[in-house]
């Protein structure tokens, strides 16, 4: 299991992080110095076991007082030999390094944010920078690397969000009545929807009395009222 320090966070269903063994953050030292200085730069090296290569989809971690993060990956170059490429340069984790903003937040790095391809990666190097001298330690924790090709985690979406129905064409009424077969199928669809709504229990508190489940009709559920022209985009 991955994780630089402490147990990893719970992983969503359908996703499993790649096994890797990151070494703890090593601060950069100047050669010849007598006392250990606090250089404000640390490096975390991560290699996949048994020299395996993986396609990286997402990197998730918890910050601990790191201000800037650069990421380099080792991947096969055009000539076939492996070389190090910078895929993320100086990502700002703490907008104001002397203050606590962003200091203990969770971050996600996706492959589409990276400067280079994240295929066939054999090693990852995290370069942490904290220019402010007020912090005693800085590192990143709960490091998890997710390979490509997995379903993105099923966040708490109700199923209807992913099943948007296509826009329907209203029936043409030129000179003839609508087809009764069509009308009956449409009414059937609406009936099925009402049954689904009735079966679903609401979590919200309604108040003292239970409201009897009224029969909603298609098109009334709040999802249909999308941000139209009148919304005015208040933040």
């Amino acid at each position: 299991m991955s994780g630089a320090a402490g147990p990893g966070p719970p992983v969503g269903p359908g996703r499993s992080p790649l096994p890797c063994a990151p070494r703890p953050a090593a601060a950069l030292q100047l050669s010849g110095g007598t006392e250990p200085a606090r250089p404000g730069v640390a490096v975390i090296d991560l290699r996949f076991p048994r020299g395996a290569a993986a396609d990286v989809q997402e990197i998730v971690f918890k910050n601990f007082y790191t201000a800037f993060l650069s990421v380099r990956v080792q991947r096969p170059g055009p000539s076939g030999s492996r070389r190090w490429v910078t895929c993320l340069r100086d990502l700002c984790l703490m907008p104001c390094p002397h203050t606590e903003q962003g200091a203990q937040d969770y971050f996600s790095l996706h492959r589409h944010q990276m400067l280079c391809d994240m295929d066939q990666v054999t090693a990852v190097r995290f370069i942490l920078r904290q220019p402010s001298p007020v912090w005693l330690h800085f590192t990143i924790e709960e490091l998890q690397i997710f390979p490509a090709g997995q379903k993105s985690p099923q966040k708490d979406f109700p199923s209807w969000l992913s099943q948007l129905t296509p826009p329907e064409q209203p029936a043409s009424l030129h000179g003839e009545l609508p087809d009764p077969e069509k009308v009956s199928t449409e009414v059937q669809q609406m009936w099925v929807l009402t049954e689904v709504i009735r079966a679903r229990q609401a979590a919200a508190r309604i108040g003292r009395f239970d409201v009897s489940p009224t029969t909603p009709l298609a098109g009334l559920q709040p999802r249909r009222i999308t941000g139209g022209a009148s919304w005015r985009g208040y933040s």
Binding site: T99, E100, F107, K155, A202, A204, R208, T214
Partner: protein, 513 residues
Amino acid sequence: MLDPDSGLSLTIARIVQRLKGSSLHSQLERQARVSLHKPEIKLESLKEDIKDFLKTSGWEKKLQNAVYSELNVFPSPCHPAAPPEHMKEPLAYMRKAQGSWEKRILKSLNSMCTELGIPLAQKRPVSEQKELLNKWNEMGTDEPDLSLFRPVYAPKDFLEVLMNLRNPNYENGEQPSFRNHLGLIQVPLKVKDIPELKEDFSELGLNIGQLGIDDSAQVPPEFFENEHVRVGQKVLAEQDSAAAQQYVRQGCPTALRADLWALILNISNQPEDILYYEQLKSNVIQHNLLVDSLIYKDVKLTASNDDYYFVFEDYLYQVLLCFSRDTSVLEHFTYSSATPPKSYIRGKLGMEEYAVFYPPNGVIPFHGFSMYVAPLCFLYHEPSKLYQIFREMYVRFFFRLHSISSHPSGIVSLCLLFETLLQTHLPQLFYHLREIGAQPLRISFKWMVRAFSGYLATDQLLLLWDRILGYNSLEILAVLAAAVFAFRAVNLMEVTSLAAAEVRISFVWRRLK
């Protein structure tokens, strides 16, 4: 840090989940069903026709207001990997500090309970219930013996805790250095400086009219006041929460304030809300909580002694006693750094099935708590509406003033903002007060914790609370506190002790009243 797209979808899903099954949802369905009888609704374009109907009849606006209210109250969703306590408070050491502060409060409450031999909760005998029901509108005439009760904590105790708050990862050397703050707060939170505040509070600029200043007798009303009142009436007619929130940033006309605040907080006093309040009232009548005595004591000590608020004593009991029993307040603990205290049924200590939150709303009142309600009594006369407004204001704003958190509107950030503003713009005054042992925060802390209630005159206080609602932030309290010091700066440079500074500053309230 979330992807903007996934963050938006999560927000939408969360809001829909919360609104689904609410009374607004069932009302929308009922309206849509009723609309089927109208001739303009056709079967082929059912969806579009009903949508248009809802838009023209104002129901879509109500839904927009509800969504806007949800967006304002709940913080944006966290990263999916973040545990729930991260949403309450991202910094681990602050969570720990809040936990130990809560333990201290509970210890104090429990020891008072054991000393006095009074149970935390007990059922009232029927005769007492009848008596209380008869006296419900005049509970102020009751004179119970409260001499043995004392408030669980006062703002100055809380200030001591905040002064000792330290980040273990921060270099807190004993030698004065650039790392140590000159004020009382030693945590390095990000606070805004004047240019950022100017940008955020741009509607408070000198070139923009404000009620309370530009509507005084010397200024002809055509310049600002008439137009502003007209716009306010239009906003009320449109029933748009977001527009109302924008409008009150320049102050609210007294005649429109009650309705505008209810619109911003999305309170509409439906029959089910009145019924809910009546249910809470019956809970008060049936059971007696120890917290009730604390509330009585607090009201008697603070609001009853205030020249402006003593007339509302009965209302305060009616609101606060019901507030203690309202379990819907527990919802705000998902985004508050505090945790409600748990208590166990007698004899079942430690068994989770017998655990209840005590008090039922999870909030233990402190000395001065009733001052949050008192100014609202000027606006609302119906107890159920007054109650709902207070509850909404508490779960949006006031809870941040007595819990330890890193939120920009939390009391820790407000204190740091106050001290930083004072140091940056009045360095001589700050240095002088520090040298005589009168750290400015010791004087202004109680003002900010009470949101200036009891210090500012009511009309000015309501103008201040207009801006709190308008900007959805409490930072203005820190700015006002610094401004008060700036106002009396010359006077304060002459004092030589903390007590003298307190006295000199207190003249401000008499002058401003």
